[in-house]
Subunit: 350 residues, 2 copies
């Protein structure tokens, strides 16, 4: 059992409050230097660390943040989390990680538990456009930041990419390559990234004066498996698309695998563009052309937004939106990304 203030006080023959003040380096503290050094010696000797629970109760601050994501084994969210922790740890915060598997019910129960725990702030990267649990966050007035996906029912603090533009750029790239029948492996229409990237896909067609075949858009969700299933459907029709824009890299990966199994050569028979530029995208073969977004920064910026809210004790409305960059690899242009890959993995001998 760790040592408490009271015990130290007994050993030093002073009142607990005095120990507390010395331990916390209370600036306006007037104390005899003899007493001070006696206490400081005791603190060092016992390695006293204030009980964070008691401290949290009194100070109404736990120094804990929470990150709510669908699944940390998805490299996108793993990188996001690192961004959060890298920003939070130096400021003395620990971070709870909650996986929802995309289930609103698990998200709700996690959020409820986090609230009971009185975490100082929550980062949610698994929200829906209409999201009851985000609504609750909004009403509770506790610090929170939405990442990657936002909710359109209110003005929440947000960090993410310009998904409309990203969808447009990705699709425009395929159009420039001469494709006219471009399929879309869409995200869910209930999720901001799904909705916006799809709108970008449509906008690119409009801008190019290209007709859109609604039959070429299929909701593929966000996992590799669902991407694979959707692709199989899309490629089984009479007049299959010659290119695919997938809502995420994971979906693109599932698509590439299935396409290959079905005998399509990539990119000759089927070009594929993903989104997010997860590390995997550059290392599979062929490398996946994708929209690069600063995933780690998503996390660190969100954490900073949160920490600033906590320290200033006032909510923010800031919405940070990064502009995605097209990264061309072999999944759309044969031989294109070889320079990319070698750059990424060109380790020096020392």
């Amino acid at each position: 059992m760790p040592v408490t203030l009271k015990e130290l006080a007994a050993r030093a023959n002073v009142h607990p409050s005095t120990i507390s003040r010395v331990a916390n380096n209370d600036p306006g503290l007037r104390i005899a230097s003899a007493t001070r050094s006696r206490i400081e010696a005791l603190l060092r000797e016992t390695g006293y660390r204030p009980n964070g629970i008691a401290r949290g109760l009194k100070m109404r601050q736990t120094n804990v943040l929470a990150v709510v994501i669908p699944d940390v084994t998805n490299p996108f969210f793993a990188a996001l989390f690192r961004g959060v922790e890298d920003a939070a740890a130096p400021r003395g915060f620990n971070v709870l990680l909650c996986n929802t598997d995309g289930l609103p019910e698990r998200q709700r129960s996690h959020l409820e538990s986090l609230q009971a725990r009185r975490v100082d702030g929550v980062i949610v990267a698994s929200s829906f456009l209409k999201d009851p649990s985000v609504r609750e966050l909004r009403e509770q007035k506790g610090p929170y930041v939405l990442v990657n996906r936002f909710s359109d029912e209110g003005e929440d603090p947000f960090v993410g990419s310009d998904d409309l533009l990203g969808g447009q750029l990705a699709t425009a790239h395929l159009i420039e390559l001469g494709h006219t029948r471009i399929g879309h492996l869409a995200g869910k229409s209930t999720v901001s990234t799904g909705m916006l990237r799809r709108r970008g896909y449509l906008a690119a067609h409009t801008a190019a004066g290209l007709p859109v075949d609604p039959g070429l858009t299929v909701e593929a969700g966000y996992t590799e498996e669902s991407g694979a299933v959707a692709t199989r459907r899309l490629l089984s029709v009479d007049d299959p698309p010659t290119a695919l824009f997938a809502v995420t890299d994971m979906v693109a990966l599932g698509a590439a695998e299935v396409a290959r199994q079905m005998g399509f050569r990539i990119p000759e028979d089927l070009a594929i563009v993903g989104y997010n530029d997860i590390p995997l995208a550059s290392r599979v073969s062929p490398g996946i052309t994708t929209m690069h977004v600063p995933i780690h920064e998503f996390g660190s910026v969100a954490a900073r937004l949160l920490l600033d809210q906590i320290e200033n004790d006032e909510p923010t409305r800031r919405r940070v939106r990064f502009t995605p960059d097209l990264i061309v690899r072999e999944s759309t242009v044969a031989g294109a990304a070889s320079s990319q890959r070698s750059r990424r993995l060109n380790f020096s001998a020392e």
Copy 2:
């Protein structure tokens, strides 16, 4: 500000303790049914949730676990963490995630902070053979479990694989394929996995009556980059090895990339075996032959060990060791794992 017991007590004209008893469904509680229903209505109406901090202070239990790992963006540790959370969440525990980047100093500071926070248990997957911070854990008598890597300075609760056997099986596989000059991209000798897998590598040679060239073993650490650097060194000598046993899949991946850059064909010129069977290993091309270990189970078993300790309030000494399985893929046998890959990714159309 969430509602407190005291406020509810005032509204219900009862003492806070009565509310607490009703809310907690105190079994031996004698209460007038009128009072009970009045209170229950109030609880529902306000959605009262006890303050976890205050509760933790009184109960001396936070219902928080912590996982300390080198880096969650490494898929091995991401899967490990999921295992922990999947076992902990149903039992009402949240999980803190701490990344150390393999730095003992960061591990120490994290562990210190976790102790101050009074987390109920700690899972450490980043320990060294001689590890001062593990020694502290051991002395503090708080629940903890070591995962994947152990420390040899004491009998700690542990979950991991039989690394000696694993190293032996991996190397024996290469020997059976006819290789006689087998390189080893070793882990650090200060880490149990590094030491044991290397001993397995040696044991396999001995068992086969094969001489060991010490020049073919080089310490490669655990990252892809360090694996690449080490491989470049190993392949630059006059008489390079024809096969490589890498301490982890990440290291094997770095090796494969560099080998290819240097003009080696895999597996014809250079066969490669990894360890852990991370998802990446089966999806790169060529697929990496590797020792399969149940990563998710590492996490869930460790969590269960921890939770049992917490509930029974007594430490355990249990050491769980899984037997690793050889998975043969194209990095050692051309065309071998095509069945593997398609099995893994053979999505049904529905």
